[in-house]
């Protein structure tokens, strides 16, 4: 499993968050708070705003009302470098090899070659390391895009339907990854319709978002 040294402590507080996207009010009045070792599972019907909330937390969408506060011990660090965001899109380049894809993200995100090799192993892709990514199945592509989380240690994981295209073994693998991350002191906020079977490592809160306003 991953041998993370303890991740830096973080605290997230969201107060009365509202957000406008494509001429619609996609979020309003959302409040939550999470600290190191805690996970938030976002539930709700399609269009409820789960993706929008994650994008807002990731800094892609501007805040139209309310506030998001991140408390960290390092004020000089760019807040964006604390976060891994894995959404619906895989960010995988089909014409490059599996390993090249991961190595690129490792270098770009401050990871190491060593972590790339161990990530491939954990994701079950080491046998495909030198194959072109276009040869992977949908489930394997999803594993590759999630492996990005493992090549550069960062405290905050924002995941949008991480188990999409995965079978039940893949679901278990995602749960184990999230578990290990929480044990190392990270925060996970994930939109998922599945009941992730996590060990009771830290708090897991479920937040259900309503229908579109």
């Amino acid at each position: 499993m991953n041998n993370f040294t303890q991740l830096p402590a973080r605290q997230l507080t969201v107060t009365d968050l509202g957000c406008v996207r494509a001429e619609r009010q996609v979020l309003s009045g959302i409040s939550l708070s999470a600290s190191s070792g805690e996970a938030f599972l976002l539930r709700g019907p399609n269009g409820a705003g789960k993706t929008s909330l994650l994008m807002c937390l990731a800094g892609y969408l501007p805040v139209s009302q309310g506030s998001i506060t991140w408390l960290s011990r390092d004020p000089d660090q760019h807040p964006g470098e604390d976060i891994h965001f894995v959404g619906h899109l895989s960010a995988v380049k089909p014409s490059l090899s599996v390993q090249d894809n991961l190595t690129f993200w490792a270098v770009l995100n401050g990871g190491t070659e060593q972590l790339v090799l161990s990530a491939l192993q954990v994701a079950g892709l080491e046998h495909a390391a030198s194959l072109q990514a276009m040869l992977l199945s949908a489930g394997q592509t999803r594993r590759l895009s999630l492996a990005r989380l493992l090549v550069a240690p960062r405290p905050i994981w924002l995941l949008d339907e991480p188990t999409a295209a995965l079978d039940s073994e893949g679901d278990r693998w995602v749960a184990q990854m999230i578990d290990a991350h929480l044990k190392a002191g990270g925060i996970v906020i994930a939109a998922t319709h599945l009941d992730l079977m996590l060990d009771n490592s830290g708090q897991i809160t479920t937040l259900t978002l309503g229908g579109a306003s």
């Binding site: 406008v20 494509a22 001429e23 805040v63 506030s67 506060t69």
Partner: protein
Amino acid sequence: MSIETAKPMNWFDKLAHPGQFLIWSRYLVLPLALVSTTLFVIGLWYAFFNSPEDYQMGDTVRIMYVHVPNAWLSQFVYVAMAVSAIGTLVWRHPLADVSMKAAAALGAAFTAMALFTGALWGRPTWGTYWEWDGRMTSTLVLFLMYLGLVILWRSFDDQLRAAKLVAVLTLVGAINIPVIKFSVDWWNTLHQPASVLRAGGPAMPPSILIPLIVMTFAFTFLFLTLHMVAMRTEILRRRVRALERKRAVEGIVK
């Protein structure tokens, strides 16, 4: 620690809120239209009946009283658009979006008028409808920029997102305009040894200057009137869209 918060609304925001704008702008449209009409009447009277003929061009010089204001407006409207673009990007002002969009089509129209009247004027003056001189060429490039902006507006379904990207293009264009003018003038001096006849010569007597200024004001007020009407129309159009969208969502729920 990093905090992201929404900014609170101040008096300016409240006044410039689209809903508020619709209310107080209604009372401005008619006065602006009246001022424009009056200025046009005065200006045209001066232009036709109270200003001298040009010693070389005769009566055709009177086209200048339409051409010059339009040419000036084509640049003024771009400045107005650039200011609105800054409003969109820096202050995320909802009215700035609308102002920019309204100005784009109007600016294109005024620039087209400038080119058209320039061609009409050119025929008796130069013998051809089009001459690649510095000013006309710059105006042509400006016209292409306006059209590009109009096309960009129409390419997006989401007009809010369009506004931000059009604002970027508008500002990039604004920075480029001096470069384009300079390069076109430079190019023109390379290829055209003869100088182009300028209207009225280096010094303009008051008999020509006054109608020119009146007509310039007339066209400017025309722009302000049309701009205000266009902004109101755009705000109403967006409201209709929002209502239609709401109706569609409710339809699914029911």
